[in-house]
Structure formats: C-alpha cells, structure tokens
Subunit: 442 residues, 2 copies
C-alpha cells in the first residue's frame, strides 16, 4: 500500500460564487477534521474567479481570473468546477479530464445536458468526474443511489428537488395565497431569482431528475426527454380541495421503470398527507426511492446554500483524495454506477404515462352535469375514485374528481370531450396524483 | 487497469437465517442488474447453515453446517457473516480477515462490542470489514456518515433505530393503550421477540448508536459507556400530556459532541411534532444527522426485515466487488471513516449530560403545591418552560412541567428534593426533551 500519512492533495477551484466560496470555506475551516479522516492534507493551491473579492481567497497561494490556469497547473490533483453554466464550464471540465485531472462539479445543467460526453472523456483518461452536489445540495443522494442501494433494482423515485418551488407551494398552502403573490415574497427573501423561470417552470428540477433517473436505471442521460411542467397553474383552491381529499400538492420529479419504458417527469403532484414526503415543507429537499429489495427509503435535507452544497462538493473531493492516498488513482465506480448502460430502454412520452388524476372542472350549475361528465369518463374507460361537488354560490361551480389510474393519452381525449360539453364553463385544471406505494405497477 | 469484464467474485455466506437468506435471494434474483452495475459476476459458491432447509440454497455448489469451511475455502473472496451473536461469529470473522478475505457482517452486537479488535485485524491484513447492515437495516446510514457527510464536523445525531420500540410507542399513542398490552400485540404480529428485553430496554438501539457515534466523531467503539433506558415506563398519560404540549414521544438514540465530551444515550424522548422525525411511525427507522456545514439531513426507511437488511449486505458486497474488479484489493476507507481515532475524547456519564426535561409529578391536591415545587426547582437553578396543571378529579393529580436546559445531576438533586415534599404522592416520571435544532449547543 502506497499510503503516506503526510500526503498532500492539491485542489484548484474554478468559480468562487456561492458554491465555490462555500467549498473553500469548508476546506479551510474543517481542515483538522478532514485531515483526521483522510490521513493526509487537502490544500487549495489555486483559485480562479471572475471577480475576486479582497480576502476571499486568503491562504490560497495562486489566484486569478482564468479557469484554464487552474486546469493547466501541473501541481493540481483535483479541479473543482463551481462556475455554473456551459461556457466555459464545459471546456474547463473537458480539458481538466483530458489532462488526467480528477474533476468535481456542482453543475447540474452541465451533467444533465452534456454528461454523457464528459463521462466518456473521464473514462477514456482514467479519472473521476464526481457530481454529488449537482442534485439536492447537501443530501448524499447520488452516493445513496449509486452505492448504498446498489443491491436493488430501483423501481421508482420521487423527489422534492427544487427548494424555491417547495417554498412557494408551502406558503400558498399556509396562507391561501395566489402563486404570483408568494413568488414576489420568495424573491424578496432571496429564495427565488429575479427571473424565476428556471425554478418555477421545473427546468432545474428536470436537470436533477434526469441525473437521478440515469443512476437509478442505468440509462444514458436524456434531459431532452424529461417532461417538465411548472407550478404556476396551481391555485389556492386546488390546494384546499386536495387537502379535503387527504392530499397535499408538491412539485415532484418522478422517475419510474415500467414494462413499456421509463417515465421521467416533473410536475405538480397530489400526494397523501400521510406520506413523510408530504410533510417536507419550506426550502427543504427530499427524495423517496423505491428499490425491489429495500422497499422505500427517504433522504431529506437542505437542497441549496453555500455550506450545504459545499458539503457535497467536499464529500466528492474526499472520495477522490481517500483513494489517491490509498494509492488508487483510477476510478473504481463508473460515473452513473453501471458498467454497461442500457440505451435501448425507451423513455415514454408524457402521453404514454399512467397516472391517477385530480380534475377541477368549472361547470354551470345545471341538473345532470355530473352525470354527463361521468358518462364521458366512462366512455373513455376512466374510473372515478372520489368526487367533491359543492353547493353553488354562483352560476359557475367546480366539480373536483379524483380518477383511478389511466393512460394520459386516454385522459386527454376524455378531457377534450368534457370541455366540449355545454355545461362546462372553462378549461379543466388537471394535476397528477401519486400514491407513492411500495407496489411495482407492472 | 486490471479490470476484466468477465471477472467473477466468489462469495461464501455463514448463516442462512432471515438476513443471510435475504442476502442470498437478492444475489440470485438481481444477478443481472448487479452484473450490469459491476461489469462482473457475483457468485455464491458456498454457504454454511446450522439447519439448511431443502431448496434454501439451490444453485449454490457447496453447502454445509460448518462456517469455518466457508472461511477456509481458498476460492472465496468475500465472507458474509449473518449468524449473529458472538460465538462462533467472532472467530469466524477474525479467521476470515486473518486469512486475507474481505468480510461483510450484519452483526451489530459484534461490531459494537468487539469491533475495535476486529477492525485492527482487518487493517493488519489489508482487507475490508464492512457493516452497513448492522445499523438501521436498509438505510445507507453508515455510508452517508462515513462518506456522504465526510466534509462535516458532525455535531449530533438522533435516531429512531429500533422498529419494535417505535411500533409500540406509535400504537400506544394511536390507541391510548398501556405498554404491556401493545407489547403483546407486537409479539403476536412478530414485531417483538418472545423475550423483548433486547428491543424494549434499548440494548439493540445502544449497539447501533455506539457504531454511529464512532463514525460521527472518530472515536473508538465504546458500547459500555452508552447510557440505555427502555420504554416500559412511558404511559399513555405521558403521551397525552406530551401531545398537549406539542410533542411526541419517541425512543431515540442520541449522540452529541459537546465541549466537555461526547454524549451517547438511548432513552424515550419528547420531540416537537413539527420535526419530520416525530412523524416516523410504525416499524420504520430514521436518523437525523447535524453537520456543521450541511446542517440537518434525515434518512428514513425500513430498519429490519430479510430483504431490506439483505439490501445493505449486498451493498457492502458491491463496494468490495467493484474495487476488486477495478484491481483494488486493499481498503481505501478506514473502517470508522477516520485514519486516526481520538481516544482522548471523554464520554460523559448520564449525570453530566445537559437536556430539557418533561416531569410528571403526582401530587396531593393542596393549596400551594405548585409554588413549593417551583421553589425547589428555582433553588436548583432549574427554570420552567411550561406547566400543565389539571383540575383534580381525585385526591392525587399530576403536575406536568417542561424545564429549560439543565445538567442532569442537578436535575436529579431537585427531583430528590421534590419527591421528599409532603405534597408529592409518588415517584416522578422524568422524560428527556430534545429540540433537534440546528444550533450547536456549546
């Protein structure tokens, strides 16, 4: 064994924003604890940052603005990419890997959209490309899926993986407010960006779901096939009706293995209030994973923030450093946890998924309207599980229906036919329902 | 790199009870998925079981009753110890390690009480001794603490780590039943043993807590210093009063790093119903871990059962097999996650811990009794946070008090003085209260 108690691992950080800054702080503040775990030393020898603030990289020997200076520094063992975006992050990571350096990235967009290419480069050069921090901040979900649950055939996973969206839905429920009002509050608190599209339209969650699905099922990353629907059409009324039926509404990322293919989808979802996942409030993240052997496990914690995300970046660094100190300089683990990925497994279009549905149908208060709606559903082989029909307080009242499981294409046909009824006074709001049960569906 | 896509890893299993049987079933049923992850094959070539049932080890080439035949089989790479107990498990594991075999064990008592010795043998022979399944069944908590949270100085952890105890407390709360009655039901359902001491008195939980504390803080295993208190003195009244105050009662294992030393303790605990941990019901396990960088994360899942525990055993096997196939035959990770353990950190006696307390004091319904109790607490510098005093329905009524934080030794003195008051009609029931907050206490 080539371990040496005084061995030093040299780290370069590209990007000192929230995550990069958090990473540097942990490496410096927890140096003693990390050394005691490692039997060696982690030293940040070079950082690159667009706009380095005074005192921000104290104790770092070499500082500058050019990330490629970090990549090309021959003394560096591990390059940390915490710049975000694609340009120049893609080239920075690719060049670092190509020059035989291990890379740790927090960049979910980069992994979800360009990961297949980058993992191939890493494998070709016999180095690690770690990305724990790209999903669910400080929660070690990548490691849990890839290693901790490696015994299992993963059947499905479902996660609250965008803190902004969960904060907004939590507040809407607590205060019976409209989406737009809570969004403004979230922006004021710094929980939502000035342009919130990325979070509230589910793109951020789709990046994370794409990554988790690949590790769960051993399939290539296919971000472009992940269905994405935001939370802006959820209303306080929907939240109230859901509550009355025993449900809460969460913005979930769901990946499921079915006999017909893989489902990957991000959308508002009704889940039973009895599930632990339904009780994850505020900016927290949580992922529920169902494996054929273990059953359901759940992972909860902070999904964002400098220190929490930095915790995951440093965990990735520790994995590589522990191996290097033990004399292992090549990857033991394939990037997505499978030595052979299955490119043949189809990803289902949203029309082909199966789900239960919550329907809020605005109708004119006329005799027989419920019967006419029921008939249309029955004609399309869609069964009703529960109905809420309130006394009319105006000419237009909502009928709320929970359906049994149906294929979405079939449901869409039924909804089209219902919306064409003379009694129906506006578009139907449809939200999918997840039982989150142990049973494998197919 | 010496990886070979057709490499076979040979496994021997000692003990085919619940966990061993579950392990064998997963290795056989999920062989394809495991091979796809591994780029190699896991083959169980030999099993030993005291009483092998017909068909139980179908497909295994060599079967017998002697575990040492497994240990001494020169073709075996990994020995799985799922016999339980100390004799012959200790010798089986020790001999396997000494002969250069990697070992995976599910034996929490063995690790908690003899782990220091066995880890030394493993290190001496350059092999792995993995034990994920020894704590919290299928939840990958060992890996999360040792690797996923490796960036952190862990401040505390608190877990529901005995499913039997949690089932009993959940049922007592749901049905307002006495402990003894629910215990009988749990025994009838197979959730509790005929002799339930190990579970309900907290010994099983203390084993698991001892192991987690060592990994969290980098200290040697010190089972004998873990304070253990069972749930048999919790009454339906305590559960009701706790509920009234906004709390639930759970049997927790708690480990905390303080300036004066380490706290390791298992006892019934009041926790706020707003915490996710308070909402883990039935036979489930859950562990909340607080790190200085990540903040609080929570891990929930099944803590027992053949398939769930087998899932963790096979995850340990996969870790070793992935390394072997990548040409790495020596451990990268120290057994407890620290290259250097701190033997100097004192473990505090229960008298020296600090906690908040719930007190149920049976008193005679006389004027001024609450004032006299308050005076005694004040004389001992113990502050009151909340009080419930009901109207008397008989001569003896309970006063329920929540205290602010106090040193237990001081609290004991106060309780002694209160029990000596003429107004107090019986022994005080005292239950510790945990805020489970982010703040580091010292």
């Amino acid at each position: 064994m080539s371990s040496s108690p005084s061995k030093k691992i040299r780290i370069g950080i590209c990007g000192l924003g929230t995550v990069g800054g958090g990473t540097l702080a942990i490496l410096q503040n927890n140096a003693d604890e990390l050394s005691r775990r490692l039997g060696g030393e982690l030293e940040v020898t070079r950082v690159a940052s667009r706009s380095l603030q005074k005192g921000q990289a104290e104790g770092v020997a070499k500082t500058g603005t050019d990330p490629f200076a970090v990549v090309n520094d021959p003394d560096i063992d591990i390059v940390v990419e915490t710049m975000g975006g694609f340009k120049p992050a893609f080239e920075v990571v690719k060049q670092a890997l190509s020059s035989g350096k291990h890379v740790v990235t927090a960049n979910k967009a980069l992994i979800a959209e360009r990961g297949n290419e980058l993992f191939a480069v890493a494998a070709q050069h016999g180095v690690n490309l770690n990305y724990e921090s790209s999903v669910a901040g400080g929660i070690p979900i990548i490691k849990s899926l890839r290693e901790g649950l490696a015994a299992n055939r993963i059947e499905w996973l479902a996660g609250i993986i965008n803190g902004t969206g969960n904060f907004i839905l939590t507040e809407m429920a607590a205060r019976r407010c409209q989406f737009e009002e809570v969004l403004k509050q979230a922006q004021a608190l710094g929980y939502a960006e000035a342009d919130p599209t990325f979070d509230v339209e589910g793109i951020d969650a789709a990046h994370k779901l794409t990554i988790m699905a690949s590790i769960a099922f051993g399939i290539p990353l296919q971000f472009e096939k992940t269905y994405t629907e935001g939370i802006s059409r959820v209303t306080p009324d929907d939240i109230s009706y859901a509550k009355e039926l025993g449900y809460r509404i969460k913005h979930l990322g769901i990946a499921r293995r079915t006999e017909r293919g893989i489902e990957m989808r991000v959308h508002p979802t009704l889940i039973s209030r009895k599930r632990l996942l339904a009780n994850v409030n505020g900016v927290g993240n949580a992922i529920m994973v169902h494996g054929d052997a273990v059953g359901s496990t759940l992972y909860n914690g902070p999904g964002a923030g400098a220190a929490a995300t930095g915790s995951a970046v440093v965990a990735d660094i520790m994995d590589i450093a522990r191996a290097l100190i033990a004399g292992v300089d090549h990857p033991v683990m394939p990037a997505l946890g499978y030595q052979s990925l299955n490119s043949e497994l189809p990803v289902l279009s949203i029309d082909d998924i199966e789900s239960e549905y919550y329907l809020r149908i605005p109708v004119l208060d006329r005799v027989g309207v419920m019967a006419r709606i029921s008939n249309v559903l029955q004609e399309h082989d869609i069964n009703i599980d529960a109905v809420i029909q309130k006394e009319a307080v105006s000419a237009s009242v909502p009928i709320v229906i929970l359906t049994h499981i149906a294929v979405e294409r079939q449901l869409n046909k039924a909804l089209h036919a219902i919306e064409a009824l003379a009694d129906v006074s506006g578009p139907i709001n449809r939200i999918r329902v997840e039982p989150l049960l142990g049973e494998v569906r197919n």
